[in-house]
């Protein structure tokens, strides 16, 4: 088995709304994949399709080389963690975790002692030992999340699916749980797919990020890939801030108002293009080739860095630039800016 899950040409429509348009994606065994996109991009629909909670209009989902349409929900062995956990509130934590095991046909069902042992082991795994007899209402949000995960892991899933796993949590707990989840994944090695609208979360956690937009898969790649080499303007803008410069490409060079601003371009279509430059890919320099003259109009603090806004003649918007050095220019100072890295998209 080389591929854990392959998604082939999925279309899904809800009445007039096209949720997914011919989406294909291969997920490797043990891989940790993020489905990233704004709300309405189809990411949750895709997750539910993998789980079997939705039916595709066209295309199919394979687990290994088994078409999932041939599998009942039980046989799919999906570990699914819902955004709001969907814990059974009339059951204790132990009963919640054991639910999947107790739902097996009699012949495959472990005996009581074995179930008890496994529940304990799972609580150990999610670092909540001793909570067996609590009810979900007696747990904090972060604890509920981990119990939901333990419940999903109890059925020894082929694939673990997480819908906005940190969506309902406070910002501080989110950070802690992220690290914990990453760690858990490296220990258990489950093939895992999670949905998020938070690009930071996706980039930090996932082995690969799949970015969805209006039902289409825009790009799939490692966090470095998608961040540094976005395939579309949407991906570029969704993953982080970027300055957009209208340029003209001639040969391997980009020209802003007939001034060369960037060289060494490999995409040689030529003609008008939009050049996307992240704030930290702009550098203040002395008068060197390819630098752009401008005037500092605003200085702000953004967390660990300082941000300069630089007016450049011929550009309607100021350029955002992250200052890395402690020596900052003054407002009103004339500076020169150099692009260290950029992505160009033809604008026809």
């Amino acid at each position: 088995m080389t591929v854990a899950v392959s998604i082939e040409g999925i279309d899904k429509r809800f009445q007039a709304f096209q949720a997914l348009r011919s989406v294909s994606l291969d997920i490797q065994p043990g891989e940790f994949v993020a489905l990233l996109g704004p709300s309405g991009s189809g990411k949750t629909t895709l997750l539910r399709l993998i789980a079997g909670l939705e039916q595709a209009d066209a295309g199919r989902v394979l687990f290994g080389d088994v078409d999932t349409r041939d599998l009942s929900l039980r046989d799919r062995r999906i570990g699914f963690v819902f955004q709001h956990y969907a814990l059974f509130k009339t059951m204790t934590v132990a009963e919640n975790i054991a639910f999947g095991l107790r739902s097996r046909p009699r012949a495959e069902r472990p005996d009581g002692a074995e179930i008890k042992r496994r529940v304990e082991a799972l609580l150990e795994l999610v670092q909540l030992p001793g909570l067996e007899r609590r009810y979900p209402s007696q747990l904090s949000g972060g604890q509920r999340q981990r119990i939901a995960l333990a419940r999903a892991l109890a059925i020894e899933p082929q694939v673990l699916l997480l819908d906005e796993p940190f969506g309902a949590l406070d910002a501080r707990i989110r950070k802690d749980l992220r690290a914990w989840l990453r760690d858990l994944h490296s220990r258990t090695g489950h093939t895992t797919v999670f949905v998020t609208h938070d690009q930071e979360e996706a980039l930090e956690l996932a082995d690969r990020v799949a970015i969805l937009h209006e039902g289409r898969l825009e790009q799939v790649g490692t966090p470095d890939d998608v961040y540094d080499h976005p395939a579309t303007p949407f991906v570029c803008e969704f993953l982080g801030e970027a300055n957009r410069l209208p340029v003209k490409i001639v040969g391997s060079q980009a020209f802003l108002d007939d001034r060369p601003v960037l060289g060494g371009l490999t995409q040689n279509q030529g003609g008008p293009a939009a050049l996307y430059v992240r704030p930290h890919h702009l550098k203040l320099v002395d008068d060197v080739p390819l630098s752009i003259p401008g005037i500092v109009e605003e200085l702000r603090r953004t967390g660990p860095l300082r941000r300069a806004e630089i007016a450049v003649s011929g550009l309607a918007k100021r350029l955002d630039l992250d200052l890395t050095s402690q020596v900052a220019p003054a407002i009103g100072e004339r500076v020169r800016v150099k692009i260290t890295h950029a992505t160009a998209f033809a604008t026809a």
Binding site: E8, G9, I10, D11, S22, V23, S24, L53, Q55, A56, D57, A58, G59, R60, R69, D70, L73, R216, L217, E218, Q219, A231, T232, P233, F234, Q267, Q269, A273, A274, A344, F345, A346, T347, A348
Partner: protein
Amino acid sequence: MSEAALPRRDATVPAKAAKPRRARPIGSESRLVQILLIAVSLGFLLLFLLLPLISVFVEAGARGWSAYRAAITEPDAVAAIRLTLLVASIAVPFNVVVGVAAAWAIAKFEFRGKNLLISLIDLPFSVSPVISGLVYVLLFGAQGYLGPFLKANGIEIIFALPGLVLATVFVTFPFVARELIPHMQSLGSTDEEAALTLGASPWRVFFSITLPNVKWSLFYGVLLCNARAMGEFGAVAVVSGRIRGLTNTMPLHVEILYNEYMSAAAFAVASLLAGLTLVTLALKSLLEWRYGDAIAAARHH
């Protein structure tokens, strides 16, 4: 704009048409089970609700239109209709005033004993209508605690209009408050507080802020209160004395006619009450469909 994007790999994958293998979505029973359960429900409703309702109108018309007309226009019937309207027109406004006052006190303020007060307001719901009438007989009847005093002063309560009104007020006491309290609680007091800080007088705040906010649940409460007030039987039966033309309300008139084997006439008068029921239900459903969110949200407390 995005010509420079990667060629999409999915375009190369031949997408097979998915056959819908599972006929139903997650979280539903098979069609057969659904039909069975729907049939059981409808059968139950038919036997216990629909047939009785239909029979009222069928039996009422059994002797033809002129008999029907005669039954509802004979003097005793007209007197009963008048009395029923009169009793409701006193009891309902009384309960509106008390219900609004109770809702204001309970929803807008925090004080000790509030839960006890709510339970006491609900109390008439769990008292048999017959007992609701009985308590007034024990108090005001000829052999009651205040009987001699009333007789000496020529005041008639039992077997007279005041008794009918009192018994009706008792059984309908909770209706208005019951609808208003949860709605007013869910709305909170910020609107009123804002109006007060803007210098509005308390009564102005009440009539121009509070009342418009809860008008639909108030109407809903009045509707149910009125239906019960006009239809009440057990409580008024005990205090009425059933003096034809004087203390006989419509439901009591129905009973008398029925017991005198004047079935068609009994059902004719009953059909008027059933008509009132249908109007009430129609208005109630209309309210729930149009303002259901406000009313239902309030009930979820």
